[in-house]
C-alpha cells in the first residue's frame, strides 16, 4: 500500500511538472516539431475525456472520475492483500487518473501535449498521465486474462 502511494505520487508530480513546463513555454495550440512527421509537441486543452468525448461536461467528467477512483478502491484495494506488481500497476493507474483530475478541477480541461503521427494517422494529442493509465490497464487486463486461463481464481 505504501509502495502504491509513492508510485502514484511520483506519477502525479512528474505529470504536473511536465504540464507546468509545457504551459509556460508553449503557447496554446502551438506546435513544435521534434521528430519529422512522427512526433510534435502541441499544447492543447481538452475539455472532454479521451478523444474529446463528452467535451465540455466538466462537472460530469469530474464525477465520473471520482466514481472510477471509488470503484478501483473497492475492487482492488479495500481489505485486499495486493501483490508487488499490482501495487506498481495500480499506482500508475491512480497517479494518471489523479494527474488529469487535478487539471480538470483547476482549469476545467486537461493539458495535452504529446502529438504523434503514426503511419500517417494523426493520433489525438495526449499526455504523460494518459500513458500511465493506458499502460497499467493493458497490463492489468493481460494478467487477469492469463489468470483466468490458468483457472487460478485467486481473487
Amino acid at each position: 500500500m505504501k509502495k502504491l502511494a509513492i508510485i502514484s505520487l511520483v506519477c502525479i508530480i512528474i505529470d504536473q511538472i511536465i504540464k507546468v513546463v509545457i504551459t509556460t513555454n508553449v503557447e496554446f495550440a502551438h506546435s513544435i516539431n521534434v521528430v519529422n512527421n512522427f512526433f510534435r509537441i502541441t499544447y492543447l486543452q481538452n475539455t472532454g475525456a479521451a478523444w474529446s468525448i463528452l467535451s465540455g461536461n466538466r462537472i460530469l467528467l469530474i464525477i465520473v472520475t471520482v466514481i472510477a477512483l471509488g470503484i478501483i478502491y473497492y475492487v482492488f484495494l479495500k481489505d485486499k492483500k495486493i501483490k508487488n506488481y499490482e501495487s506498481i500497476l495500480l499506482g500508475l493507474l491512480l497517479g494518471g487518473i489523479i494527474g488529469n483530475l487535478i487539471d480538470r478541477v483547476r482549469f476545467g480541461y486537461v493539458i495535452d501535449y504529446l502529438d504523434f503521427n503514426i503511419f500517417s494517422y494523426h493520433y489525438p494529442v495526449f499526455n504523460f498521465a494518459d500513458i500511465c493509465i493506458v499502460i497499467s490497464i493493458i497490463i492489468l487486463v493481460i494478467i487477469s486474462l492469463k489468470e483466468d486461463k490458468n483457472g487460478n481464481n485467486s481473487r
Binding site: A29, H30, S31, T42, T47, S55, N117
Partner: protein, 296 residues
C-alpha cells in the same frame, strides 16, 4: 499539365483519379490515346508509378471545352474598372475545372464583365479562392495589371483576410496561433493534413468571439493561404469546424457545409493606391446553425 509523382507503387489510373479532377474513364481514354506519358514514355493504364516520375497530360480531347458566360444574380459588393469584390454564396464553386465547366462564379463574372487573363482560361480574374461551401468575400481582377498587383499583395501577405468560423468544443484561451505545415494527406489524396511530407508552412491566428455550451465562434486571420487551411488547422487542434463534411469529425447538421465565412477583405487598390476594406454579414446558412447553438 505536368504532375510530379509524390507516391510510390501506385497504378497511374488510380493515382490520377486521386490527384486530378478527371474521372477514371476520362483518364483511361487519355491513356489509350497516348495523351498521358510518364517520363516522356507512353504507358498502359496498369503502369505502376515511382516517386518523382513526371506525368504529362496532353488534354487535346478537351478542345471542345468552352467556358461560357452565364447570367447569374451575383452579390457584388464593390466594382470599378480594375477590381470586383463579390460575396460568394454557399455551394458555388469559384472557377471551372476539368469535368466541371458550368455554374461557377467565373461563369457568372464573365457574363458580368471582362476579366484578367493571366491565370489561364479556367481561372480568368481569379487571384485567390475560397472553398465551394465557404461563403464570403473574394476579390477578382478585371485586367492583367490589376491581377498582378493583387497577386503580389497576396504573396507579400499584405491583404487583410478575416474569417468567421463556428467550431466544435469550447476554446478556453482567448487567442491562439496554429503553426503547422499542411500538405496532401498521404492516406487520402483528396484531403489535406498537417504533415511534414511535401508540405508548406501554414499559420492561422484565431480570436474567440463567443462561447456556447459545446461550440465556439471564432475570428481567424491567415498568414498563409493553403488549401483547406482553416478546416485542417482547427481539426488538428481538436476544434473541427461545425458541419464540415470532410474534416468535421462530428455529425452534420445540414447540407450547407462548413460554418466558415470570409467576412472581411482588405487590399490596396491597384491603380489608386488607396487601401480598401470590405465587410460582409454572415449568410443565412451560417446563422441558422449558429442559432441552434445559441439556443442550446
Amino acid at each position: 499539365m505536368e504532375i510530379i509523382v509524390d507516391k510510390n507503387d501506385i497504378r497511374i489510373d488510380t493515382y490520377l483519379t486521386e490527384v486530378t479532377e478527371y474521372s477514371r474513364s476520362k483518364i483511361e481514354k487519355l491513356i489509350k490515346n497516348n495523351d498521358i506519358t510518364v517520363n516522356d514514355k507512353e504507358i498502359k493504364k496498369s503502369y505502376v508509378l515511382k516517386e518523382n516520375d513526371i506525368i504529362k497530360i496532353n488534354d487535346i480531347i478537351e478542345e471542345d471545352i468552352n467556358i461560357e458566360p452565364e447570367k447569374m444574380d451575383l452579390d457584388i459588393v464593390y466594382e470599378d474598372d480594375d477590381v470586383i469584390v463579390v460575396n460568394k454564396p454557399n455551394g458555388m464553386v469559384v472557377h471551372p475545372a476539368p469535368g466541371n465547366y458550368h455554374h461557377t462564379l467565373v461563369n457568372g463574372l464573365m457574363y458580368h464583365s471582362k476579366l484578367s487573363s493571366i491565370n489561364g482560361e479556367f481561372r480568368p480574374g481569379i487571384v485567390h479562392r475560397i472553398d465551394a461551401y465557404t461563403t464570403g468575400l473574394l476579390m477578382v481582377a478585371k485586367n492583367d495589371k490589376a491581377h498582378m498587383a493583387l497577386a503580389k499583395q497576396l504573396e507579400e501577405k499584405t491583404t487583410t483576410r478575416k474569417y468567421i468560423a463556428l467550431v466544435w468544443g469550447v476554446i478556453n484561451t482567448d487567442t491562439g496561433t496554429i503553426d503547422a505545415p499542411i500538405g496532401r494527406d498521404t492516406n487520402d489524396r483528396k484531403k489535406m493534413a498537417v504533415t511534414d511530407i511535401n508540405s508548406k508552412d501554414a499559420v492561422t491566428h484565431f480570436t474567440v468571439l463567443e462561447r456556447y455550451s459545446n461550440a465556439t465562434l471564432i475570428e481567424l486571420k491567415l498568414e498563409t493561404g493553403r488549401t483547406h487551411q482553416i478546416r485542417v488547422h482547427m481539426n488538428y487542434i481538436g476544434y473541427p469546424v461545425v458541419n464540415d463534411p470532410v474534416y468535421g469529425r462530428r455529425k452534420l447538421i445540414d447540407e450547407t457545409g462548413q460554418c466558415l465565412h470570409a467576412k472581411t477583405l482588405g487590399f490596396v487598390h491597384p491603380t489608386t493606391g488607396k487601401y480598401l476594406e470590405f465587410d460582409s454579414e454572415l449568410p443565412e446558412c451560417f446563422l441558422n446553425i449558429l442559432k441552434q447553438f445559441k439556443d442550446s
